[in-house]
Symmetry: C2
Amino acid sequence: MDNSLLLAGIAKYVALMPDEIDRVTDAMHFKKVRRKQFVLEQGEVSSRILFVTAGCLRSYAVDANGTEHVLQFAPAGWWITDMLSFINAKPARLNIDAIEDSEYIYFNKPDFEELNAAIPKFERFNRLLGQNAIASYQHRQVDNITLNAMERYSVFCKLYPSLIKTLPQKQVASYIGVTPEFLSKMLNNTIIK
Amino acid sequence: MDNSLLLAGIAKYVALMPDEIDRVTDAMHFKKVRRKQFVLEQGEVSSRILFVTAGCLRSYAVDANGTEHVLQFAPAGWWITDMLSFINAKPARLNIDAIEDSEYIYFNKPDFEELNAAIPKFERFNRLLGQNAIASYQHRQVDNITLNAMERYSVFCKLYPSLIKTLPQKQVASYIGVTPEFLSKMLNNTIIK
DNA sequence: CGTCTATTTGAATGTACTCAAAAGCGGTGG
DNA sequence: CCACCGCTTTTGAGTACATTCAAATAGACG
């Protein structure tokens, strides 16, 4: 039930007044999930936007063969949602679940819109946060198209230094876009030239 | 020198007052570029955010072999920038150039920030636009990791129906992430099973 | 402990790439 | 108006990076 991480995140971009902080806090919902538990399943409408306060969530898509492909990991301090579903109330393409026991804060969409309307600084925060997200998506896209598997692995290690120790290797493989077998061979130099 | 497309784009999200429209218009800069001309070169700092009014721009990254990889096409009505460079004043990783003779409107970063501060509705517009951009980046990412080359081509045709006729095939290949030779074979069924 | 899941290893396979060369296409100038 | 030039597209053969499938091994959790 601790919102300090989220408030600190906001404070990095904008300085809210005490009453504004109260108003934002009033709109927060707190939730705990156990490992492997779903937060969002594809097909559902994602009417929430989440901020992780403990543990780690992930979003992923499933392809025609049933293989999972991780889009994002969200350790504490990260935001996560299926944005298309959130803004258009369309069925989600992404699944979001917990990699480990986790806690998060979420805003319901009506509350989120109301806060943006009522508190200009909150809307500024969200614009800036959105710009950051765009920047990282652009970067990841560029990485994916210009780097090979080994280089993408290195980039991953720098992006999620804390996760690399705890995350099962197959999750990392899924994120960088290779099979777990191939990642294993790559890291053990089993690939014969 | 026509800002109607941009104002119409804003009007889809927020209703600006006449004086606000004037203020936004005052901050606009208009520019024409010829085919192949650069708008941004990697290494430069991107201090502008662009809105295309005619023709078509593209952003792309260059890999270690010197191969170009298209990140985005921006026909009339689309926004384009290297967001990481724009927000952090870091050297751009992306190049932006004109695929055909084009016209665009740009905002300088200080003006852009000032408008956001002075006109809450403008900031709302940018927040919503940002959310849309995030949604499309998420979608493209999911497409790239879950679909094969032929399926990505189909998605491209739906996303840019007007471009598919005019765009050189090698540009399309670069966007969907295959070599021009492979795209050619794919479309002509030269790939022997 | 025992079971379930993750990782490793190997062999065969496939999808897409590289390199090279030919063919097509569009614009420009003689 | 045709000829040439540069660029794009096509075609082919050989290759590489990564996958699939299968089985053995190792770890983690109850």
